[in-house]
C-alpha cells in the first residue's frame, strides 16, 4: 500500500494495512492532526525529503522524532528513538481513505496524562468510513 503527502514529494509504502488506527489528543498528536498506524521500522519504505522534529518541552527525553514533508508540511511519520524500543507510526492520512475502509479507529484522551507511564483513556471507537473517522 502506497501513501503520499499533499504535494506527493514524500511516499511511504507499507506491505499491509494497519491493524488499527490511533487518534489522540496529546499535545503532539493533536497539533499534527495525525491518525497513526504502527509498524516495525523495516516494514516501511520511505522516499522523499522530510524534516524531523523532537520535542524539547517535556522535562524528559522525547521518546520519538516526528517527520513532515519539507515542502507541504504534511505529517508523514514518527520514529521511536527510545533506546529500549523500536517502532514507527505512519500517518495513515497519507493513504487513500478507500484503502483503509473498515479499519478500527481508537480515540484516546491524554489530557490527564502526567507521565509517560500513565495509560491513556480510550474515549471513543470508530471505523474508517463511519462519517467522522477520516
Amino acid at each position: 500500500m502506497k501513501g503520499q503527502c499533499l504535494c506527493r514529494s514524500v511516499t511511504i509504502e507499507v506491505e499491509n494495512a494497519p491493524e488499527f488506527i490511533n487518534i489522540c489528543n496529546c499535545r503532539l498528536c493533536r497539533k499534527l492532526g495525525s491518525a497513526w498506524g504502527y509498524y516495525l521500522p523495516q516494514a516501511i519504505t520511505l522516499s522523499g525529503a522530510t524534516t524531523a522534529y523532537s520535542r524539547d518541552d517535556l522535562g524528559y527525553q522525547a521518546g520519538c522524532e516526528t517527520h513532515f514533508c519539507t515542502n507541504c508540511g504534511t505529517s508523514t511519520h514518527f520514529v521511536v528513538t527510545h533506546p529500549d524500543h523500536e517502532g514507527v507510526g505512519v500517518n495513515t492520512r497519507l493513504f487513500e481513505q478507500e484503502t483503509l475502509q473498515g479499519i478500527a479507529v481508537h480515540y484516546y484522551d491524554t489530557r490527564s496524562r502526567n507521565s509517560p507511564e500513565d495509560q491513556p483513556e480510550r474515549t471513543g471507537e470508530g471505523t474508517i468510513g463511519d462519517g467522522h473517522s477520516f
Binding site: C5, L6, C7, R8, I23, C24, N25, R27, L28, C29, R30, K31, L32, G33, S34, A35, T51, Y53, R55, D57, T66, H67, F68, C69, N71, C72, G73, T74, S75, N91, R93, L94, Q97, E98, Y107, D109, R111, T123, G124, G126, D130, G131, H132, S133, F134
Partner: protein, 129 residues
C-alpha cells in the same frame, strides 16, 4: 484566545472562539489533519515564521496552506484567489482543547462532487479533538 504550534514558534491569536469547526476529508484537509475555524482576516494575528504551500494538482487553485517550518504543524489557510473575500481559516488544534470544549464539529465528506455532512460532534465528545 492564543494558540501555538507544537514547537511554540508560531502563535495565532483570535479575538473569539470559532462558531463551529469543520473536519473534512478532501485531499487538502485530510493530508494536513486540520480542524478549521473560520474568521475575518482582521480577527486573526499570526506571529512567527510560517511556510506556505500552494497545490499544483488542481484545475482550479485557490488556497495557500501555511505550516510551521520547524515542527510541521499546519497553522492556517488563506483563499488567495478571492482577496476581496474577507475570510480565512485557522487550525483550531493550535488552541488548548479545553478552551474549545462544547463547540460544534461538522464532519464533511468531500470525496464525491458535493459536500456531504456525514456527522456532527462537539469538542469534548471523546472523538472530536
Amino acid at each position: 484566545m492564543k494558540g501555538q504550534c507544537l514547537c511554540r514558534k508560531v502563535t495565532v491569536e483570535i479575538d473569539e472562539a470559532p462558531e463551529y469547526i469543520n473536519i473534512c476529508n478532501c485531499r487538502f484537509c485530510r493530508s494536513l489533519g486540520a480542524a478549521w475555524g473560520y474568521f475575518r482576516k482582521a480577527q486573526v494575528t499570526v506571529t512567527g515564521e510560517t511556510k506556505s504551500y500552494r497545490r499544483d494538482d488542481l484545475d482550479e487553485i485557490f488556497l495557500d496552506g501555511y505550516f510551521c517550518p520547524t515542527c510541521g504543524t499546519c497553522t492556517h489557510y488563506v483563499n488567495f484567489a478571492q482577496p476581496e473575500r474577507d475570510r480565512m481559516a485557522v487550525n483550531t488544534r493550535l488552541f488548548e482543547q479545553d478552551e474549545l470544549d462544547g463547540i460544534e464539529v461538522r464532519y464533511l465528506d468531500l470525496r464525491g462532487e458535493d459536500y456531504i455532512r456525514t456527522a456532527t460532534g462537539k469538542i469534548g465528545d471523546g472523538c472530536a479533538f
